[in-house]
Assembly symmetry: C2
Homo-oligomer: 111 residues x 2
């Protein structure tokens, strides 16, 4: 099972690396310990709502953007978990109506 | 400041009420205590990633949908915090280009 804290950690780490910043820099600005930020990024610790807001502020990334990215990762995972059961690579659109998460996943054919 | 746990709680409570289900029903299916679910819905407790997944499962709502709804609520709040500084009720569209979050907020005029 994919967990929320793991996906949030991935998105935060990607944002920090894209900015070329170190754990130390971001943790200092966010006023969290380096170890805490590292654990959050690795999905080993649940970030409290307050500290998640602080980390997003330090990265200058809106929390809405982080959540949208995480939502999209989950949507793909949910689509894949459906197809992982018994469904072929592409599914007729009318069949896909009964499979939440497939639409928009790229796994539904137009026909 | 709007907090993640509060927005998640609102979305979960709305989903449960739309289904006409009680705290007791959903908490039983999710295998969490009624008090815990109630506190999560009121934004008073951070749901762990595991229990959040369990609650979404009990509601039969994909976590991706919950996060998308929460992301949209934050995006609106972030837009409002911009307009809260110095911007009038409506803003010309060309000016709004420089104000992330204003588009789609209903605060940008078409002209």
């Amino acid at each position: 099972m994919v967990l929320l804290r793991e996906e949030i950690g991935d998105v935060l780490r990607d944002a920090r690396r894209q900015q070329g910043r170190t754990l130390r820099e971001v943790s200092t600005v966010a006023r969290v310990s380096l170890g805490y930020l590292s654990e959050v990024e690795r999905g080993q610790k649940e970030a409290s709502s307050e500290l998640l807001a602080s980390i997003c502020g330090a990265l200058d990334v809106p929390l809405s953007s982080v959540l949208r990215a995480v939502s999209e990762k989950f949507a793909r995972a949910e689509g894949l978990s459906v197809t992982g059961v018994a469904v072929p690579d592409t599914v007729p659109a009318d069949l896909a109506d009964g499979l939440p998460g497939l639409r928009g996943s790229g796994l539904v054919s137009a026909a």
